[in-house]
Structure formats: C-alpha cells, structure tokens
C-alpha cells in the first residue's frame, strides 16, 4: 500500500486561524510608539509643573505654542532653567543642555545633529525624578576634590573625634589622604582633641568664637560639619543620594515648593560655613589654634553647666521625708 502523501491542506488549524483572527480584530492602530508616548507624557508633565510653578512665564511664552518635539524640548529646558534659578539646583547629569536664561531655552533650534524627541526620550527618567543638589559635608567630597571647606571640616572632625559626634572613621587617615598641605595637616593633628565624654549638644551652645561676621552662629555651623542641623538637604551629600539611596529622590516635582525652601536654607548655611572656612584657610595656623581653644573652653563650660540629673521618685520622697523630720 503506498504511503499516504502529506498534503498542505489544513496545515494551519481552524482553531489557530480563529485565534489569530480574534487578535487582529481586537487590535487598533496606535499612532505613537510606546517610547514616544512615554516621552510626551513625561515632557507634558513637566510643562504642567511649569504652569503650576511659574504661571506668568507659562502664559507668556508657552501656553499658545503648538506642541512639536522642538517646542517640547524648549518648554522642558526653560522649565528646568527656571527651577535652577528660582527653586533649587538640579543635579546636572549631562543629558540635556540647560541654559542659565530660560528665554534662551525657548530659542532652542534644531541643528540637525540631534533629534529633540530622542534627546527627551533619553532624559525621560531623569526628567521624571531628577536629584536636587544636596549641601551636606562628607568624607567623599573631602577626599575627591579640593574644597575650601575641607580644612575647617577636618579640624572640627579631628577636635571632636572622641566625642559623641565622632564621624566613625579614622580621621587621621582622612587628613592624610586629603588635599590639605602637609605642614598644615601635621599642625592640625597635633592639636589636642576634646576629651572623651564631651556631649556635643551641650558644647555647641557654649561655643564663643571671635565673630568674623555679626550674623554667624557657630553652633549651627558646627552642627553643619557633623550633619546635625535641622535641614535635611544640609545634612545629606550628593554621594549619599547616589550611592546609598541609588539616586532615588521621589516626588521632587510634587513637593517642589517645599524643597525650594529647604534648599534655600541649606544653601545659605553652606555659604556661611564656606565664608568661615575661607577665613580659616586664609590664616590656617592662627585660626585652627583659636578654634581648638574655643572648643576646649566651651567643653569646660558645657561640663559646668551640664544639667543636673533628674532625681528619682525614691530620692524625691527621701528628701521630703528628711524635711518633715
């Protein structure tokens, strides 16, 4: 008996054709690719923020523009420029060019070398959750770059290394690896640290340094060096956000106005600390000596004014009994 010849008929089962047909019937055409749509969404969200946060600029320059990729780019970069100038500084990750002047951003022109939609697409996640600049002082900043604040900061860390605000790393190593000149570093490490057991919360209120500016309060500036202020952005470094928190800064745009207020305070604090640090850097040996003396004096004063231990109930009752007798 001849072997039955295979046939092409019925090769695709009816069930499969039916399933495929249903799939086609259910699908409708999407005029935009998913990535493009997501880019439009993120960019329009920022334009919505622009309208909310800078209404005058929005109505004057943005509202009546037709939405094109170029106009989207212009509106978004103008918004970021306004945020940088008026609310808080945004970390520059180099994905978009943000001019200082928002009106310059509006003059964005395509030179053909880059597609604004692709640029926006690449910047989309950053546009959704950018990281505001932080103002904290940390070892990474001291070790990685030469900052004007580093000598003052290192001095404070060294002098308070035995207190309850010790930064938890070998400060001698940090000084050794820092950009501080060798003779100054040697001078610094010879300055006596505060004795162990000093409670810094008490000490800072007692510090009296010859004022180099009438407005400065040294307690707040010393707290700043140890990330002990009331301001979260002054207590946090960019490094911490990037490495410890994986660069995550949630709800930046939702809380832009509150963040702006915190950032302004943190920036002012950092600037005042910077001015003090500059005065220390200008005459390091004299200023370091004065700082050490002031801290030791304050430590003694703090110890004297240390609040009395609260009496226990038994002690109070015993006192009352003695009075009655």
């Amino acid at each position: 008996m001849p072997h039955p010849r295979p046939t092409r008929r019925g090769r695709v089962s009816r069930a499969c054709r039916l399933v495929r047909g249903l799939g086609k019937a259910a699908q409708r055409r999407s005029p935009l690719h998913s990535e493009t749509a997501a880019t439009y969404q993120v960019a329009l969200d920022r334009v919505r923020d622009l309208k909310r946060l800078f209404p005058a600029f929005y109505w004057e320059h943005i509202a009546n523009r037709h939405i094109t990729p170029r106009a989207l780019m212009a509106a978004v970069t103008a918004f970021l420029s306004l945020v940088n100038n008026e609310l808080f500084a945004i970390e520059d990750v180099g994905v978009l060019e943000i001019p200082m002047d928002p009106l310059r951003a509006l003059a964005y022109t395509e030179d053909g070398s880059r597609d604004p939609l692709i640029e926006l697409e690449e910047a989309a996640s950053w546009l959704a959750q950018p990281r505001p600049e932080m103002y904290g002082v940390g070892t990474e900043g001291i070790l990685e770059e030469e900052t004007p604040q580093q000598l003052l900061t290192l001095a404070l860390w060294h002098l308070c290394r035995n207190t309850n605000w010790s930064i938890g790393v070998d400060i001698g190593d940090v000084i050794g690896f820092s950009y501080v000149e060798q003779d100054i570093a040697e001078y610094l490490v010879k300055l006596p640290s505060l004795p162990a057991g000093v409670v810094m919360e008490h000490l800072v209120t007692a510090v009296k340094l010859p004022p180099w500016s009438d407005q400065d309060e040294f307690d707040e500036l010393i707290c700043y060096a140890f990330a002990r202020t009331d301001n979260a952005m002054a207590n946090t470094t960019n490094y911490e956000i990037d490495i410890v928190y994986g660069g995550q800064t949630d709800e930046v745009w939702e809380h832009a106005l509150e963040l702006a207020s915190v950032a302004r305070e943190a920036a002012e604090l950092a600037a005042r600390y910077g001015r003090w640090a500059h005065s220390v850097a200008d005459d390091p040996k004299r200023e370091l000596r004065r700082l050490a003396k002031a801290l030791h004096t304050a430590a003694e004063a703090a110890a004297l004014t240390k609040p009395q231990r609260t009496k226990t109930l038994i002690e109070v009752l015993t006192d009352i009994e003695q009075v009655m007798v």
């Binding site: 008996m1 039955p4 010849r5 295979p6 046939t7 008929r9 019925g10 090769r11 695709v12 089962s13 069930a15 499969c16 399933v19 249903l22 799939g23 019937a25 259910a26 699908q27 409708r28 055409r29 999407s30 005029p31 935009l32 690719h33 998913s34 493009t36 749509a37 997501a38 439009y40 969404q41 329009l44 334009v47 919505r48 309208k51 943005i62 509202a63 009546n64 523009r65 037709h66 939405i67 094109t68 106009a71 509106a75």
Partner: protein, 162 residues
C-alpha cells in the same frame, strides 16, 4: 466440605482476609478509617474463589463510576442540566477611535500646550493606550498552536471506526 473460616476482602487491588462472619458494613467502616476514601461510596460485589480446594467468599468494594464512565444518554442529560456559561469577551487594546484621533492631533502638532493641558486625564489616558500590547498567550497555548501549525495533515487510511 467444611465452611471456610475467612472471607477475602478486595479493595483497590489489595486483598485482605477477615473472619467470614464479619459484617460487610463494619468492614467498610474499618477500611474508610484506614484511608480507603472511595470505599465509603463504593458498591459491594460478592463472589467466590477456590483456595486450597475450598470455596471462599470474596467481598469486593467497587468504586462508583464518575462522569468519565457516563454513557451517551447520561452525558446528554448532564449537559442539558448545566446552565450555559458566558465566555469572556475578547479584550481590546490600543486606543479607541477617538483616542487615536487625539494622538494623531498631538503627533501632527495640531494641539497647543494649553489645549493639551486643558484635556487633563483624557490625553493621559490616550497616551497610556500606546503602551498596551496584545495579551501574552500562555506558554502551553502557544506551544499547542505552534504544534498545530506545523502538523502535516495525513489522509486517513484506516476506517473511522477502526
């Protein structure tokens, strides 16, 4: 010929020897407690077997047949009794015609920023539909379809009722 003192109990292919006088229902209760769950509803078939020249009574617990064992009439009756089920409708994805028109307007630069923002969630929902794709078939279903796709039809040489 003497009367055998025992009888054989057959359940799930296993055989036990019990005193001949043991009550069958007592055996059922005992077996149920031993983990033979089907015994509770099983029917008892009695029989005889010759063992060493003696005729011994056998008690076999036979499971009741489930639907698999239904004959055509029973199955038809069952199907008549089952209420009809409504199959879920095929889920559509992608923008509606109105949303597609809106997306066209957006991509063709026909909207101003203020018009777009004034739409609120409407535009957002239209853009959301661009992220929707066809439902992913199950691996099992996909494999079945692939197999059926590649299956070469062969003319049957055997009678249908072979």
């Amino acid at each position: 010929m003497t009367t055998p003192a025992t009888k054989i109990v057959i359940v799930s292919g296993q055989e036990f020897s019990v005193p001949a006088a043991t009550d069958n229902e007592a055996i059922r209760t005992q077996l149920s407690g031993m983990g033979f769950a089907d015994v509770a509803s099983a029917t008892i078939q009695t029989g005889k077997r010759t063992v060493d020249g003696q005729e011994v009574q056998t008690i076999e617990f036979v499971k009741k047949a489930g639907t698999k064992g239904m004959d055509g009439a029973e199955l038809a009756q069952l199907l008549e009794a089952v209420p009809p089920a409504t199959l879920p409708t095929v889920r559509s994805y992608g923008p509606t015609a109105q949303q597609a028109a809106l997306l066209d307007e957006l991509s063709e630069a026909e909207l101003t920023f203020d018009q777009a923002l004034a739409m609120g969630d409407e535009l957002e929902r239209a853009l959301d539909t661009c992220h929707e794709g066809p439902p992913t078939p199950s691996t099992k279903g996909a494999n079945l379809c692939r197999t059926l796709d590649q299956l070469v039809a062969v003319a049957s040489v055997a009678p249908v009722a072979w």
